[in-house]
Amino acid sequence: MSRFERFAHLRAALQSARRYFRCHLLMAALFIAAPALAQEAPDAIVKRVANDVITTIKSDPAIQAGNEARIREVLEAKLLPNFDFTRMTALAMGKNWRTATPEQQKRVTDEFRALLVRTYSGALNNYRNETIDYKPLRMSPADTDVTVRTVVVRATGSPIPIDYNMTKTPDGWKCYDVIVGGVSLVTNYRDEFNDQVQKGGVDALIKTLSDRNRGVAAK
């Protein structure tokens, strides 16, 4: 065995050891970080996500130029992972949720999600330097359902209270209802969803939602 070969072996061993070690380091990091992430407090999540989205909107030239596709991208990446759309849709459908097949449930959820994204990206176009006040969160460690209260202070006009109802899931706290000035999003859709289901079943609801998402105007 030449010196060179021995050296090569050594190098290979060292490399695999390093890989092995790096892999473990990564795993260790994940194990330490994962519970920390999962346990991020609900109010901390709202604050972090709101700041992140606002900072991006303010600094992104495409968004400043009114590019709605770019706004949607930002929402998809930063905001939407913090929502529990299945729960939101189930609550909006009420008793009709249980009569829907899993396939229908999934389609309503997807269409409802798309509708909300459209609405939000339109509304964020109106963003004009508002600041957000965060109210102190009252919760006990055993809670699995909390309301994070905020107030949006505008340069002109009255402040708007916005509450986020959040639920604890295995992936951390997720928002399932937004209440703007006392108007709950889920409650507002409950009658609308029910009307559609009464008219033509869950499929009618799916059709109306997808029509709206394809830009067919409402009555």
Binding site: L116, G157, V183, N188, K219
Partner: protein, 247 residues
């Protein structure tokens, strides 16, 4: 006002829409409650309201919304803010009265304090100094007072130009108008100009909301009704409404 709305004003379209809407109202009044459909317990007059909503929508699309948009486009923001503040200052006074009527003296004190400060040092209410120093608006009105006194809200109503209301809130609005200072302005032209500017102020603040409704609603009539009733309930309970019973 005609000069303001000229770019978007289409008299034929409006006439057509109104004709259609009037026919709908007539049909609704004739068929009345016989019309079947998913009825909401808060909205027993839904067929009539829907017809009136159509009337409103025609007028709003042809005149009110373009006028409000023109107001925003033409009048600079600081001036509009001043106009808004003057109307709000008068509203704060009535909010104070309603605070007293509901026994919420803290809130009433804030409202009267706001009016004093803004009238005396904010040039008759043009500047909202009270908000700058953090005195919050009570946001009370006669409809809420009737609610706090225990009057039921009564059937939901949609009144063209006025918008969503209920029997209780409509009565409150009527009291507000009869007691409002503008009711006693004798010069007719001046009185209607003030109403007109007040309306433009309100409608222009709702322009963004209109856009949201256009995107978000499956059925705009239902969407607006539900949002209105939720909002009023929230205000009557001062932001802490008890949870509604699940069906």
């Amino acid at each position: 006002m005609t000069t303001l709305v000229r770019p978007q004003f289409h008299p034929q379209l409006l006439a057509q829409a109104l004709k259609r809407a009037c026919a709908l109202v007539a049909v609704a009044l004739v068929t009345g409650c016989a019309t079947t459909g998913p009825a909401s317990k808060d909205d027993p007059l839904e067929p009539m309201n829907r017809a009136l909503f159509e009337v409103h929508d025609a007028v709003d699309t042809a005149v009110l919304r373009p006028a409000a948009q023109a107001y925003v486009d033409v009048v600079p923001q600081p001036l509009r803010q001043g106009v808004s503040n003057v109307f709000n200052n008068i509203n704060d006074f009535f909010s104070g009265i309603n605070g007293v009527l509901q026994g919420k003296l803290d809130k009433a004190g804030d409202d009267f304090g706001r009016v004093l400060l803004n009238t005396a040092f904010g040039l008759g209410g043009i500047f909202d100094l009270a908000s700058m120093v953090g005195i919050e608006r009570g946001n009370e009105d006669f409809g809420q007072t009737f609610g706090v006194w225990g009057f039921p809200q009564g059937p939901y109503l949609f009144i063209p130009v006025v918008g969503p209301t209920t029997v209780r809130d409509g009565a409150g609005l009527a009291v507000r108008f009869v007691w409002g200072p503008n009711y006693y302005v004798n010069e007719e032209a001046l009185r209607w100009s003030i109403y007109g500017i007040g309306y433009l102020d309100l409608r222009s603040e709702a322009l963004d909301a209109s856009k949201v409704v256009d995107t978000a609603a499956l059925d705009r009539y239902t969407f607006i009704r539900n949002a209105y009733l939720q909002r009023r309930r929230y205000l009557v309970y001062d932001g802490k409404p008890p949870p509604e019973p699940e069906e």
